[in-house]
């Protein structure tokens, strides 16, 4: 990562934890996990709470749907690490990698339900342009997403607009497909806390 403190600035107990994870998983700790362990009182503790609530808290959207939103928002932001991580997690949650790839390569022709399609389109517009109109929101609601689902989707969008920026600014190392798949397994078992 671009800041030495994020590579080497951890307390002894945290370094020990990283070493244990490395031994048991056979892989180094991913940069996304390292970031939330650095001075967790400043960012990591509350970021984990919010991200977990958005991605795993109560919602009419499935975990797969919300991981797909994370992957899609990350694609709009061109955040390579987060696209890889959440493509793998959505694919595993759905047990359908082709569906996730279809959404990421051409949203409009992807084989997904209308409420999810319209919601992803709105999140993409908000992410790329910073704004969305009331008329565009009405289209999402007319497509069948409830008001609560739109609010839940906005929370996912916000969590990943934060994480994508930090991944790219701090320079998270992009993992191999195996590394992303291992991370996906962990995120589906344990969530973000």
């Amino acid at each position: 990562m671009r800041l030495d403190i994020l590579n080497r600035g951890y307390r002894p107990g945290t370094k020990m934890l990283f070493a244990i994870i490395r031994v048991f998983s056979g892989r180094p700790v991913p940069d996304a996990a390292k970031l939330v362990f650095y001075r967790p009182d400043f960012y990591g503790a509350r970021a984990k709470d919010f991200t977990h609530e958005a991605l795993r808290g109560p919602s009419a959207w499935s975990v797969g749907d919300r991981e797909l939103m994370a992957a899609y928002v990350s694609k709009v932001n061109e955040s390579a690490f987060c696209v890889g991580a959440h493509t793998a997690t959505a694919s595993r949650a759905y047990q359908d990698r082709a569906k996730v790839q279809a959404v990421l390569s051409d949203l409009d022709s992807a084989p997904i339900e209308e409420p999810l399609l319209a919601t992803l389109r709105m999140l993409g517009k908000l992410t790329s342009e910073g704004t969305v109109s009331a008329g565009e929101m009405r289209e999402v609601l007319a497509a069948g997403a409830s008001r609560q689902q739109v609010e839940d989707a906005l929370a996912v969008c916000v969590a990943f607009n934060t994480t994508d920026r930090l991944a790219d600014a701090f320079g998270f190392e992009v993992l191999s497909q195996d590394g992303f798949d291992a991370g996906a397994k962990y995120l589906l078992r344990r969530g973000y806390r």
Binding site: R2, L3, D4, I5, L6, G9, Y38, R39, D41, F42, Y43, R46, A47, D49, F50, E53, A54, G57, P58, S59, N77, E78, S79, A80, M122, L126, T127, G130, T131, V132, S133, A134, G135, E136, M137, R138, L141, R147, Q148, V150, E151, D152, L154, A155, C157, V158, A159, N161, T162, D164, R165, L166, A167, D168, A169, F170, G171
Partner: protein, 108 residues
Amino acid sequence: MPDEGNKRAAHQALVDRVLAGEGRAPAELRAHAFGNEGLTSPLDSLIGKVAARPAQVTDADFAAAKASGFSEDQLFELVICAAVGQSTRLYEAGLAALADATGNEEAG
């Protein structure tokens, strides 16, 4: 809705912490990074990229900010403030559009 209240509250707790809690960078500077406004060169370039085109941040952006006197811990905080600030503006814009679309029922 209680669950959405939790999401909003968890987000607000993060915003409050990075802006108002203890930090190595002065709170006023963290607020400027959050708002992506009122910063001087070269910090303005790094923070502007984090807010608008994060994939274009380079090693040179950090090197320039460090050379101008900022510590790594200060840059850690200011980059986080910039990221949280931009995403908070997106949240507010989305919730405001949703409120307009549904006849200004409480959404914010």
